[in-house]
């Protein structure tokens, strides 16, 4: 591999842009396809499919067999609410290698002592989220239980193409939340993207267990093929 390719792959990832390295493993020929060069590449269909699935793999083409090293930007988790569950979620996500950004305007909550593994923004979501930039490689989680903090965050997430949106609260709390967001003009299809009650149903009780169930749900959303019927 040319050092220039390796360097470009690392810098593209840091800039949260996708790229794909195409290798002919028999002859050793290689090229790096950047995000804006995909459409012009002879393997553009295969590259687009691989990027969508986020999976590296071998592909067959008229001109031979090629290995695609897919580099999608690293997953990150944006958490609104510097609460107890968020502390555990930041630790678990850190272990999995995900970057965590915690947004909470209450400075007593959003402190480095409480969140050694996360990036903290002691701001309102409506200020912080446009700067953070919620993209398709981002999971968004609202955990404050306080509509005046959670709702603006959810509004921003629902208008983005992030791959996961979750919000803490019981079915009753969530029903009220849906009414508020609907009256703010968000349609039912978008509202359906919110996972609530949040997390996989593992009977979680403690904050750490709730964090585990949220992390598991995010991982499932990231890794599993969508809408796979049972038994197939």
């Amino acid at each position: 591999m040319k050092a220039a390719f390796l360097q470009a792959m690392n810098s593209e990832r840091a800039a949260r842009r996708a790229c794909v390295l195409v290798t002919d493993p028999v002859h050793g020929a290689q090229r790096l396809v950047l995000a804006d060069g995909i459409a012009a590449d002879p393997l553009h269909e295969e590259i687009e499919t691989a990027l969508r699935l986020g999976k590296s793999g071998m592909v067959e083409h008229d001109t031979g067999r090629y290995f695609l090293t897919v580099q999608a930007p690293p997953l990150r988790i944006v958490v609104v609410g510097a609460v107890h569950v968020s502390q555990a979620l930041a630790s678990i996500a850190h272990l999995l290698g995900h970057r965590v950004i915690v947004v909470d305007p209450r400075t007593a909550f959003a402190s480095k002592e409480r969140f050694p593994d996360a990036d903290l923004l002691a701001q309102w979501p409506e200020e912080a989220l446009p700067v953070v930039g919620i993209d398709r490689y981002t999971a968004f989680v609202a955990l404050t239980h306080d509509p005046k903090i959670d709702d603006p965050g959810l509004m921003a997430a629902l208008q983005s193409d992030c791959f996961y949106i979750g919000a803490l609260g019981s079915r009753k709390t969530h029903a009220k939340r849906l009414e508020r967001l609907a009256s703010a003009g968000i349609d039912a299809e978008r509202l359906g993207r919110i996972h609530a009650p949040i997390g996989l149903d593992i009977g979680a009780v403690s904050p750490a267990e709730i964090a585990l169930s949220i992390m598991a749900e995010i991982t499932a959303k990231q890794r599993k093929k969508p809408e796979r019927p049972k038994g197939s």
């Binding site: 591999m1 990832r13 290798t23 028999v26 580099q71 850190h94 290698g97």
Partner: protein, 109 residues
């Protein structure tokens, strides 16, 4: 502590190359049956045999590292295959019964 991800591993490869070390990148390019690490997993190796990452559950890393040292020396990439053939293959095979192909290439300026 976070364990090294495939992206950290490529950053390490770049850092080692910048530091003037000979570096090879090994990548799992195909798997058949049950394989411990998915396609796309990387192992980076320097000329002294330091390595980071994995291409299996630890079963074939030793063999990949020694092949990588040759690749760093020659500059010619290699496509390696590992599987379980017989009892004696256990030392450099996959005890899980799967089969993997690993592409090993040198980082060149």
């Amino acid at each position: 502590m976070a364990l090294a991800s495939d992206s950290d591993i490529l950053e390490q490869a770049e850092a080692w190359h910048r530091a003037g070390r000979g570096v090879a990148i090994a990548t799992v390019v195909e798997t058949w049956g049950s394989a411990p690490r998915p396609v796309g997993s990387h192992l980076v190796i320097d000329e002294e045999g330091h390595f980071l990452g994995s291409v299996s559950g630890g079963c074939v890393e030793g063999a990949v590292v020694s092949e990588a040292m040759d690749v760093i020396g020659s500059g010619t990439p290699r496509l390696l295959e590992f599987g379980v053939a017989d009892e004696t293959a256990w030392q450099v095979g996959l005890s899980c019964g799967g089969k993997i192909a690993v592409y090993v290439e040198k980082v060149v300026s």
